[in-house]
């Protein structure tokens, strides 16, 4: 019971936190780019764009920061035996992230907000780039920690604890270097689709067309390039899985027995976890070989074979992750990804042909498409983390062994309810503000409150 509740809580808080992270990373880069265009081209329009999209960034950033606080503390709170076991390797990246990146972000975003009229343009632009670099470095350290859970490297076991032997190995973990580009590309996609969706909404309302035209074009280009980039980096992830985490790959493909050569890819399948077989499957020949090896040949090992191998290696136990979740979350992610590529491609063509303002059906589709990257990001992480089960650190520690033995089910239930409640309220407040800013558009007084909130007036203001 404790295990189940602790896992639900970790999943819920982490998924919620990761709603905000990719948007912060992607939007910071795009805003920095807009401001750079402003500085280079000296066109006021780009300044207005940076300011307008900056509002969304700030609303989103605040929730991202506070939900990150829970992330850092709940390893110790709910997973104390895990923390004892990996703290030596897992703790430093987290601490470094707090130290380097957090300071970089929180310092320069403050200066960026209040510095529009006070700083030279180039310095102000530099601040946003530093925020963008800060958020991207944050992601690198966190993924370095996560990559250790997926593929532990650079450690030795001393007194039953993993101790770091090489930070170079931890940072050159092959898992990190397939996961990091994938995350960055997905983040840019997320930011692009927010801008695309809100621009489409304004096109439909026929408001500020001139303003949104440029945002739309930039976001469509970024959306297409980044979603294609996400697919390519995702492909390198699957090649990694075949080599390092074959069980996750087999589960994601619903592959019970070893595949033939060449291996077909299942579009859909009826997965029967009790009899360990599929009741039916619709397959595309060759495709799994292509996804796994990048060529038209090669076979994959199935879950049943791997299970036997692992029993011999690690002792009795069930080493097959929840297959249905792994299989379907992978397909949801891929489907959302392809839909995003398609939508941004069509959007871009219509934009070049100058037909976008009249393509009302597409515009209407692009608004709910804001959610597509969120669906893809979430299902991608679900696949990655569920597919790693029963391990919390692959091959070294099971999830069950990582839990806090002294925290009761009642306590976790309380925190789960409390966190869910406050997160729901935060989500409502945030969406409400997003909609409000989108409805107001770029022409509403941008300097809403800054005269009164300007810290450099030492608070002696009246207003």
């Amino acid at each position: 019971m404790e295990l189940l509740l602790a896992r639900i809580q970790f999943a819920a808080t982490t998924i919620f936190h990761f709603f905000f992270v990719p948007l912060s990373i992607g939007l910071a880069i795009m805003i920095a780019l807009m401001e750079t265009l402003y500085v280079v081209k000296k066109d006021e329009m780009y300044k207005r764009m940076a300011k307008f999209w900056g509002k969304f960034f700030l609303i989103n950033f605040a929730v991202g920061i506070v939900t990150g606080i829970i992330q850092e503390f709940q390893f110790g709170m709910n997973w104390s035996d895990y923390s004892r076991f990996v703290g030596d390797v897992f703790g430093p990246p987290l601490a470094i992230e707090a130290l380097l990146a957090f300071f970089l972000e929180s310092t320069f975003i403050g200066i960026w907000i209040f510095g529009w009229d006070k700083l030279p343009k180039k310095i102000h632009m530099l601040c946003m780039w530093l925020v963008a670099i800060g958020t991207s470095i944050s992601a690198l350290w966190i993924l370095a920690a996560n990559s250790f859970m997926q593929n532990p490297v650079g450690y030795e076991i001393v007194n039953g604890r993993a101790q770091m032997t090489s930070i170079v190995e931890v940072l050159s973990n092959p898992k990190l270097w397939v996961a990091y580009p994938h995350t960055l590309a997905a983040s840019l996609t997320t930011a692009s689709f927010l801008i695309i969706g809100i621009s489409a909404y304004s096109y439909l309302r026929k408001k500020d067309i001139e303003f949104f035209k440029r945002s739309f074009a930039i976001a469509l280009i970024f959306g297409l390039v980044a979603s294609v980039g996400t697919a390519f980096t995702g492909h390198s992830q699957s090649k990694f899985l075949v080599q390092y985490q074959p069980m996750k790959m087999a589960a994601a493909e619903g592959l019970w027995e070893d595949s033939g050569d060449p291996a077909p890819w299942k579009v859909v399948a009826g997965i029967d976890t009790t009899n360990k077989e599929n009741t039916f499957a619709i397959e595309v020949p060759y495709l799994l070989s292509v996804l796994s090896y990048g060529k038209l040949e090669g076979s994959l090992i199935g879950m049943n074979t791997l299970q036997e191998q692992y029993v011999q290696q690690f002792g009795d136990g069930n080493y097959i992750p929840p297959v249905k979740t792994t299989f379907w979350s992978f397909r949801v992610m891929v489907a959302s990804g392809f839909l995003m590529m398609l939508l941004s491609f069509i959007g871009l063509i219509l934009h070049w042909k100058n037909k976008l303002p009249t393509s009302r059906r597409l515009l209407k589709l692009l608004i709910p498409a804001i959610f597509l990257p969120y669906i893809a990001n979430t299902s991608g992480w679900i696949m990655s983390e569920i597919g790693r089960q029963p391990w919390v650190v692959y091959g070294l520690m099971t999830t069950e062994a990582g839990i806090s033995p002294n925290v009761t089910a009642g306590q976790i239930l309380f925190s789960l309810i409390a966190f869910s409640l406050i997160y729901t309220l935060l989500a409502i407040a945030m969406v409400y503000l997003f909609v409000r800013v989108a409805k107001q558009g770029p022409n509403v007084a941008i300097e809403e409150d800054t005269s009164a909130t300007d810290p450099f007036n030492t608070g002696r203001v009246v207003g």
């Binding site: 700030l58 609303i59 605040a62 920061i65 506070v66 990150g68 606080i69 829970i70 850092e72 503390f73 110790g76 709170m77 709910n78 104390s80 923390s83 004892r84 703290g87 030596d88 897992f90 703790g91 987290l94 601490a95 470094i96 707090a98 130290l99 380097l100 957090f102 300071f103 970089l104 929180s106 310092t107 403050g110 200066i111 006070k118 700083l119 001393v158 101790q163 770091m164 032997t165 806090s404 002294n406 925290v407 306590q411 309380f414 925190s415 409390a418 966190f419 406050i422 935060l426 407040a429 503000l433 809403e448 009164a452 909130t453 810290p455 450099f456 030492t458 608070g459 203001v461 009246v462």
Partner: protein, 328 residues
């Protein structure tokens, strides 16, 4: 000094930095109800800390991260052992953090009222909880042979720990009032000064009571009295010196003094604890020393190098940037 000892000191420094900086943030947050009379005054108060709260809170995050990385057993025992207090602390910090950012984003009064209450409660609870937790540290925790702590309600909340919470709460509020008189003008400033004077004796008694109870309920003075007695004596001297400074309205100096008092009280917890990270009330043999709790030599060395590089470059950047924008 070994690296374990160095990191124990660094974590102490991080907590002291957090208490010093976020201490007045919390105090100002409390002032939004106890001092401010209307929406305008609340806004002025919040503006004095609004832009810095996140940078100040990073001290706590870094302290938590450093505990995880440098002393995994300490981190694991304490965070799982104080599960519910940490849940409440997190809820308070989350509500408060978002409130600073969201409060001014919508003009309606109701919207502002929600976030104002978040700021008030989010500033009131954490210093009290932290005081209770710090007092728990030196009182000792029911930690068993497996380093796990199973504490009942009255293990955590008792006369002694509550006195720690109250002392910490009042000191933070005093610190906040002295920050307000430094940063605001006119009526608000003089009211903050008056309130600080009114609270002077109550706060002083709370601190002395806490120190007295420490002598009764804990081993701290037996094991490290030679260092704790001069520290507390110094704190009391600074506290007494605060009174004439308040009377004379020496704003900068009185704020500095209250900061020094907080610094002394917070570091006294770590002095009392050393060389233990956790003191067990079940059996002294179950005490977790910092050497037992520490990470391997490689990790500690790595973190030391990174912290060193960071101190040189990033602190320069941060404070350089603040100074730059204040001039700009």
């Amino acid at each position: 000094m070994t690296l374990s000892e160095l990191w124990f000191v660094l974590i102490c420094v991080l907590f002291v930095g957090f208490v010093f900086l976020e201490g007045f943030d919390f105090g100002v947050g409390m002032g939004t109800r106890f001092l401010a009379k209307n929406e305008l005054e609340r806004r002025i108060l919040i503006n004095t800390i609004g832009p810095h709260w996140d940078a100040n809170e990073v001290w706590l995050l870094t302290a938590g991260g450093a505990m995880f990385a440098a002393f995994p057993h300490w981190y694991a025992t304490v965070f799982s052992g104080f599960y519910l207090p940490f849940v409440v602390l997190l809820l308070a910090l989350i509500a408060r953090g978002v409130a600073f950012e969201y409060r001014s984003k919508h003009p309606s009064d109701q919207w502002k009222a929600i976030w104002d209450w978040s700021i008030f409660l989010g500033s009131l609870l954490p210093p009290f909880l932290l005081g209770v937790l710090f007092a728990n540290f030196i009182q000792g925790l029911p930690v068993d042979a497996d380093m796990n702590m199973r504490a009942g309600f009255f293990d955590i909340v008792n006369v002694y720990t509550v006195s720690g919470g109250i002392a910490f709460l009042l000191l933070s509020y005093m610190h906040g009032l002295l920050f307000i008189q430094l940063k605001t003008g006119d009526d608000l400033r003089s009211r903050a000064q008056n309130q600080a004077l009114k609270l002077f004796f109550v706060t002083g008694i709370a601190v002395v009571l806490f120190v007295g109870l420490t002598a009764i309920f804990t081993d701290a003075f037996n094991t490290r009295g030679w260092l704790l007695i001069p520290m507390y004596a110094l704190a009391i001297v600074f506290y007494l010196a605060l009174y004439p400074l308040l009377k004379q309205k020496r704003e900068g100096l009185s704020f500095t003094f209250s900061g020094i008092i907080l610094l002394l009280v917070t570091s006294s917890f770590f002095v009392a604890l050393f060389p233990n990270a956790v003191i067990s009330t079940i059996d002294p043999a179950y005490n977790i020393t910092i050497y037992e709790a520490a990470s391997g030599a490689y990790s500690l060395k790595l973190m030391t190098i990174i912290a060193g590089v960071w101190c040189r470059s990033f602190l320069d950047i941060r404070y350089g940037a603040i100074i730059f924008s204040e001039k700009g």
